[in-house]
Symmetry: C2
Subunit: 365 residues, 2 copies
């Protein structure tokens, strides 16, 4: 804040509120919370806004903060709020504050300058404390156990939706407070939809089945994808799986070399490139449309990004991100393998936090 | 659009995308979808943006739309997109487009004027088609059955979390594709937290237990709250329950009078006032901090609002909204009763869509 010459920071992202103040809005709750959970940080004070519904919760979860009563009309409160923290120049989460709210706040206190802040808290969140890493590991362990416990339930005729619900149930009764995100379970050609939702499609012999899922433990999330074979794998599916596995290994190997000192610390763009080169060499470059990975923590997708468009700066450390190349053949099949990796330059190897086997796994027989 | 003199409408709300284009982003998915699902409507064309992950899904769900490939960088695409629909003046969902994106789009095509659009699609969504009402009714029916099926499972010693999970399971295996929102189950003094989350607190004799929950059927949502008594109700809890029930009846009666022609169509503010007057007369005005109701449909909270700050225009019709007064005594107890009401000025009575009994219900004995 001092570098940018601002007196205060106004935030609205629920993950940033949790990180900086302790106040928790669950997934989806931000849609109905209005201004509750929005926060202000000045040089010597943290203020959490809460309407009557959230007042007691805010006081309990953010004991170090001043809880300020708010209604739907934040602009009405804004001038007094600015005076109370002595702010003349405020950084605002411009990627998340709506255009409309920005205009209202600017008009409500014309003497207070608003400046766009992008990624300030997100950059802090990318670097993980030991306690944060432990929580992500716990979430990975819950997810590993849940997948192991439903694998025998995968049988021809079961639907995507039944299997997704079974996996969700295991996660939520097996130590997680919530899912990290809705379970994806996709069979056969549906696996070519990288963000498809589970539906009525049934497991069939000779096809793949893809699970993409995660758990949440104490606010921190896991994320893992496995693509299994139902009965004997087709040659095509086996070849695609082999290419994806090799691509994932290439990125992980590139990270290892950096930790062992034989290569410089890669950027997110370089880490992506290692996996992408393998897929391109196999002739599937156009079938891998997304990035190789994303940071994870309080949000499922956060910094750092591993993609063609990612930063060219060296990766932060210690940090946790996914490595998840995929190949998607429209109308035919799809394979993605995703693991979470702890990248810590004070250590000599990466640690893979998701432990379920990455090999060719045949199910339903 | 013609009234406002704009050539096109640019939207980012997932509910509006579903309403206008058919493209579905599930709850939470908008956090990771990037620009996918954002849309543009011109006089003669609908355009849905989709990155590679969502391309096939968009084509299937929005067959009448042109699917336009997009990356994380919408501004790069914006000038060509504007040219393709011949737009010179575009209405933008300013309450949902971030300040940052607005600035980027304005800079990318300086010859295209952006104007703030607020509530245009939301006003259309408030007025429900018969098929929309049927879906909300179906969601209410699933929720009613689910509550009935877990009521015998409520026993002293069970935790809020166990009961919330049991209710969720019944909803999701009983005909709903998803929850409308996370189930609230709150016991005793926790019921004074109008948006609290279920935790480790146990059901105890002599306390209340509050459930606030909803189902989703084909995208449309239900919302219901019941506050039960575990064992013999205390005099205090019974009195509070009676006041809340009378307040709910007062708003419903006011709506009935309008449909029978003995009163004008109330505004959302007047409909709120009817319930609020009862609670204030009982000395609990300060213990009822939220509004009396909200519209519901593709979103859990949408127009119209029934609250002190609501519009003074007559309520729209036909529309569906909740009537949900509550009284919250910090550290002691809380009671809320919530039902969904169909308000249709072509009919002579309101229809209450949530059917579970509203009376004093004693459980756990």
């Amino acid at each position: 804040m001092a570098q940018a010459g601002v007196d205060a920071y106004f935030g609205v992202r629920s993950e940033n509120a949790r990180f900086l103040t302790g106040f928790i809005l669950e997934d989806g709750e931000d849609r109905v919370a209005g201004n509750s959970g929005r926060f202000l940080v000045s040089g010597d004070e943290v203020v959490v806004l809460a309407d009557t519904r959230y007042r007691l919760q805010a006081a309990a979860q953010a004991p170090g903060a001043r809880i300020e009563a708010v209604t739907y009309d934040l602009a009405a409160l804004w001038p007094d709020l600015m005076k109370s923290v002595g702010a003349k120049k405020v950084a605002v989460e411009a990627g998340f504050v709506s255009r409309q709210l920005w205009q209202q706040l600017a008009a409500a206190a014309p003497d207070v300058e608003l400046v766009e802040a992008g990624g300030w808290v997100e950059a802090q969140r990318a670097i993980k404390e030991p306690a944060e890493i432990e929580r992500i590991k716990s979430a990975c362990a819950v997810a590993d156990r849940a997948l192991a416990s439903i694998i025998r339930y995968i049988r021809p005729g079961r639907t995507e939706r039944e299997l997704a619900l079974a996996l969700e149930w295991e996660i939520r009764t097996g130590g997680a407070e919530a899912l990290a995100f809705g379970v994806a379970c996709l069979v056969g050609p549906n696996a070519a939809l990288p963000h498809g939702s589970p539906g009525a499609a049934e497991v069939r012999v000779g096809q793949v089945i893809l699970f993409d899922f995660g758990a949440m433990v104490d606010g921190y999330r896991s994320d893992m994808t496995r693509t299994f074979f139902v009965g004997s794998p087709s040659g095509r599916d086996l070849a695609v799986h082999g290419t994806v596995a090799a691509a994932q290994s290439a990125t992980i190997e590139r990270l290892r070399q950096a930790l062992r000192g034989s290569q410089p610390i890669p950027s997110g763009k370089e880490a992506d490139g290692a996996a992408r080169a393998v897929i391109e060499a196999a002739g599937h470059g156009e079938h891998f449309g997304h990035g190789t990975g994303h940071g994870i923590g309080l949000a499922t997708h956060e910094s750092p990004s591993l993609s063609r468009a990612a930063s060219e700066d060296p990766l932060p450390s210690p940090t946790v991100f996914s490595v998840e190349p995929g190949i998607y053949l429209d109308g035919e099949t799809g394979v993605r393998i995703e693991d979470l990796v702890l990248f810590d330059t004070s250590r000599s190897d990466v640690e893979i936090l998701t432990c379920f086997p990455r090999d060719v796994v045949v199910v339903g027989v």
